[in-house]
Amino acid sequence: MVFRPSSADGQSLDKQDYVQGGATQTAVKILVVGHFAVGKTTFIGSISEIEPLSTEETMTRAAAAVDDLKGVRGKTTTTVAMDFGRLTVSERVVLYLFGTPGQLRFVQMWEDMARGALGALILVDPERLADSFAVIDLIEQYGLDYAIAVNHFDGNPQRAEASLREALDLLDDTPVVTCDARDEKSSAAALTTLVRYLLDRAS
């Protein structure tokens, strides 16, 4: 009989669910962040070699107190989810992409994600630039280098890069790229821009 490990819903894991060449792999991670519904999961899904997964963390009582839970009798915890994908870039390195919304109150999750991350790609919607301030602040707070990827939606007028830089108060050398998170090559190009920048910063 062939042994088939299974996940929570009883589906078997396939060979390709496991990390290729796991015994010799070094895992690294890059964050893909942005405000709610900016396209993080779509972006991760477009280049991940596995179906994007999601995991939850339970907020502690203390953290939950920050949330508005008044009137929800007996509810002392709530959960937040992060989505992630995987990309085997070589026989030695496997890259994980983690995405979560930029709410400050999910501090434990942010610390888990940010610790040891190579850098962050911040997805922004040109029509909702103000929604990106909080997440940019957070990434800077954790000391992570980042690039901005402007996710284009159909019919969106293209905002000039200069005005976007000014609106987001970016440093001159912070890369700004446009991308279509639904498109594999476009997402990969945005990620490549970030990695080139990180490499420049590390040299």
């Binding site: 669910d17 015994a23 997964l53 963390e57 339970t58 490549t192 990695v195 490499l199």
Partner: protein, 125 residues
């Protein structure tokens, strides 16, 4: 008086998680980070008969190759904190092999970034 079962049902999973983890605290952050790679140790004979259902389930899922801690949580739908604690117990018992990510250092970062860049260019042109 409230029966124990009712209390558990009303507790939003908190008591159950505590039972699953046998009351252990969170393991060292570096040892079982989100991207620490985990696989079952090859020596089947050393596996104890007294594993909890969750320990057995996590060991099973780790038996066919390497997965990151985050992936194990994603596949099992267990909360990340619970997964980390159960994996830490299994690691202490010698049932798991873990590969923690390399500590951050400028030289190591540069090599890794070069490898990531090259990989992206090869895969996506």
């Amino acid at each position: 008086m409230t029966a124990p079962e009712e209390f558990e049902l009303a507790s939003d999973g908190l008591v159950r998680a505590y039972v699953i983890t046998k009351g252990r605290g969170l393991p060292d952050e570096q040892q079982l980070s989100l991207i620490t790679l985990v696989t079952a140790a090859p020596d089947e004979d050393r596996r104890p008969q007294q594993l909890s259902p969750e320990e057995q389930r996590l060991l099973d899922i780790c038996s066919a190759g390497y997965l990151s801690v985050a992936e194990i949580a994603g596949h099992t739908k267990l909360p990340l904190g619970v997964v980390r604690i159960v994996l830490a117990g299994l690691t202490e018992g010698g049932h798991l092999i873990t590969r923690a990510p390399v500590p951050r250092a400028r030289d190591a970062d540069r090599r890794l970034l070069e490898e990531v860049l090259h990989g992206l260019q090869t895969k996506f042109g």
